[in-house]
Symmetry: C2
Subunit: 512 residues, 2 copies
């Protein structure tokens, strides 16, 4: 393709032309057709234009995962502005850092998050903000009190252009903005369709937060495929089970803990412990967010629930590898083969690992980010010649199927949320009594993992665990708070002084 | 996408890794799995390397539409050489012109076409040639007597690179080579999958010549989708019907005359005139190659045969617009909406036509060619700012559905083959007795259209119609021969002397 060929018609607009009257998205009993979704996105884009939003503007969005967010995503696309979704679970301090780091020019929030938005704009007096709301009578999403300005909207999508900036942390402590282009979204949707199959009558259930890539990518598939999305603002196992039954859901994206709760609810609903089933129309349970417990996969296989484990990260625009329906049972426990546009290799000691040999998972292709926003250092450290070094550990079997052993050595995944030890350590180190800090995950049956911390205190310190936890709570989102903070004499380090987080667990009272 | 992102894994290689043991292609009772097809393409590429074929080499292929051709297509892809398929229906003179025009460095032919190849290489003494054959005992395709050279093969596909050059004529008389890139094939396959749906268990029946884009594009879908292809070297209605029944065919590509014959055979087989049916597994009869007769579409609707009419041309890498399954009945007679990556507009008098207003069909997008090979004049005349002016006439209804009224005014479509009047006229004008010549199509129930010619002879001429037909037969493929050549006093021309082909029919004896 030459440069002029990197254009596609705006996906929502094309779907609105192709199938105007078909349901695009349903949420809390309200449904928008493709024509309605397109009309609302257009109107909202005109309102945003009144506020000075233009191509390339960076817009922070602090809303729940409902229709206002969805319409906002598409309005920003029509105006070629850049979506920066804020994780609702972050503290005001964390959100404030992020909004400044990305240099957002506007904050959009909904009524439920008015208080958080107020706190945020109090700390950032120069940040304009506007409330978005759903008129429940007309099912219309608008910015309250803003007149529309009829500007020329983009009818096309430039695959090279930035669609969103999604923050993720890493080993360096502070979050980094992953640049997500339209092309990444497009190729991810196409790679997924080639693997899972595509049926214009599919209905995809989304119950994951839309401020993460896993949720956002479903909104893109919505308009690229022209399929119906059943959107759940909050995950509720019973409600999800009901929707699967009543809305003819064919695909659902979940993390392991959601699936476990769904099965428990299913057994309760059907009164047959361990044997609850879903309708045959449910053809794919797409499982993401970290390695899945083998017993869960086996339980689903027994129940004929078509679970397709996947592997992906923000940098790969959600799935990079996914088990295919044909291999679901034969390769239980594997995250499958890389999607068609993706190249995957395992690197151990700077060389290609042999089959079965674990190493770092590296990814390349048009679904893989090419940079972190204004972080050439982080980009250079992570991406070489288009190859993204994920830091995650896995191996390929003799047939080339991926088995993920460990997310990047220091990453803690708790209920599908990524927690980065370095970030918690930085907060603990900011306390005057803390000399050294180390954080790792501890396995836990409900959440998968929870963070625990180890600190080496100053000799004269009298600080208590409770006081340190209270300090941490002032700076960190709840889900990142360590379950315990252990005081130890010293932390394990290698010869060059690098903290060995993998050895922290040997310091646990029960392991000493 | 930046330049490094225009790479995809080689499609066949990836399918061979993903689904090595699944059937890739069946032909005449022989089946190759994806692993076998990949192995054979690799071996054949090594043999081609021995013959000096390298990236960018232009290779003329003169074979039937069987396994040798298929393996050859993939071998050329692995070596990044350019496929130039020769239409078997052309005369040696026509083929010779084309091979010279494209500057082919090698001719590959099969045993059935040895005589034609001999004639061709006799006229082109400097053109090396080699025979390709299928060892029916081992189902192995090889070049006879050529040892392999193990060269490094491309593991990737550059979407920008040229995959093939497909000749098509036009208003200028001499054929032009349409540059078909890998990207055009990829985007066409994706656009089609988004429209028709994609099921990894699909089986696509190919019974059209593989030297045309309609056939070749099925071979690309074969490896991009990883689906099974049932390949028929020659179209035989009974054999196709049997395959549909016995091989669980889900999609078939046909032109109108094939479908008519299939229905006739079906009625004979099932003994119920006008009521023969296909199994429900056949989910899509993709109808191309020119406007379809309305009675045929209505007949199929009555029989619940899911016909999806399409519109496309070589320059658009087969389908550019196709009716979707959901609209098949509602919009009977329409060629549907443009595929997702394609933009389509109707231009009348240099302005955008209103709904219902006929005009020239123009196309843009990554499935549309960006040039004719070494013909900057033809490219500039046809493509402006990425928009291809097809010369075909159609309109969009109020819902944006395409109705094709006429292929480019001078194009005759006979049994799915394009015939260009200017080419026949040039041959007639080469006869010493012919002063003026004009060719147009006459409707004919079996072939759709057949060419007829009108000549204005020199005053002293005594040449007969039979003599002129014999002259034409020496230069033109059989299917292009006029059914009749009428001698007339003068041809209709506009004020600037341009031949008005549309008015030729008024000269017919019955219309005078």
């Amino acid at each position: 393709m030459n440069s002029s060929e990197q254009l596609l018609p705006n996906w929502l607009k094309r779907s609105a032309e192709n199938i105007p009257t078909r349901p695009a998205i349903s949420c809390e009993g309200r449904t928008l057709t493709f024509a309605q979704l397109d009309q609302q996105a257009t109107l909202l884009a005109f309102q945003l234009a009144t506020l000075g939003v233009h191509a390339g503007s960076r817009i922070a969005v602090l809303t729940g995962s409902g229709l206002p967010y969805v319409v906002c995503v598409h309005a920003l696309m029509r105006i070629e502005a850049i979506l920066v979704p804020l994780n609702l679970r972050l503290t005001t301090e964390e959100q404030s850092w992020l909004v400044q780091d990305v240099n957002a020019s506007l904050l959009i929030h909904d009524a439920q998050n008015a208080e958080r938005a107020h706190a945020l704009t109090t700390s950032l007096a120069t940040l304009p903000h506007v409330a978005i709301g759903l008129d429940t009578t007309t099912t219309t999403v608008t910015l309250s009190g803003i007149a529309p300005t009829e500007v020329a909207l983009s009818e096309q999508i430039t695959l090279d252009a930035t669609q969103s900036i999604m923050y993720t942390s890493g080993t360096t402590g502070k979050p980094k903005g992953v640049v997500i282009t339209y092309g990444m979204q497009w190729w991810n949707a196409i790679g997924s369709a080639l693997n899972l199959g595509h049926n214009p009558d599919d209905c995809w259930l989304a119950c994951m937060p839309l401020f993460h890539i896993g949720g956002l990518s479903i909104l893109m598939k919505n308009v690229i495929y022209g399929i119906h999305i059943s959107l759940h603002e909050k995950f509720d196992a019973e409600a999800v089970n009901t929707a699967i039954r009543e809305e003819r859901v064919t695909i659902i994206s979940v993390v392991a803990i959601m699936l476990q709760r769904m099965l428990a609810a299913l057994d309760k609903e059907q009164g047959i412990p361990g044997q609850g089933r879903y309708p045959a129309a449910l053809r794919c349970v797409l499982l993401g967010g970290g390695p899945a417990p083998q017993p869960l996969l086996e339980d689903c296989a027994r129940r004929d629930i078509p679970v397709m484990q996947s592997y992906g990260l923000t940098e790969s625009c959600s799935q990079a590898a996914t088990l295919s329906p044909a291999d679901a049972l034969r390769k239980l426990g594997s995250a499958g083969r890389p999607l068609m546009p993706v190249q995957l290799r395992i690197i151990n000691d700077d060389t290609l690992a042999a089959p079965g040999e674990p190493g770092t998972i590296c990814l390349k292709g048009p679904t893989i980010t090419s940079s972190y926003d204004h972080r050439p250092d982080a980009t250079a450290a992570t991406i070489h010649d288009g190859w993204l070094s994920t830091g995650d550990i896995g191996y390929l079997d003799a047939d080339g199927y991926l088995y993920v052993l460990d997310r990047r050595s220091d990453l803690i995944i708790s209920g599908g949320e990524n927690i980065y030890p370095a970030e918690i350590e930085a907060v603990l180190l900011a306390h005057h009594a803390v000399v050294e800090a180390g954080v790792c995950g501890r396995d836990e049956p409900t959440w998968g993992q929870i963070p625990i911390a180890f600190v080496h205190l100053t000799a004269d310190s009298t600080v208590t665990e409770q006081e340190l936890l209270a300090h941490a709570a002032r700076h960190l989102a709840r889900f990142k708070l360590p379950q315990h903070i252990y005081s130890v004499a010293q932390l394990p380090r290698n010869s060059s002084g690098k903290l060995l987080r993998r050895e922290l667990h040997t310091l646990l009272p029960e392991n000493r």
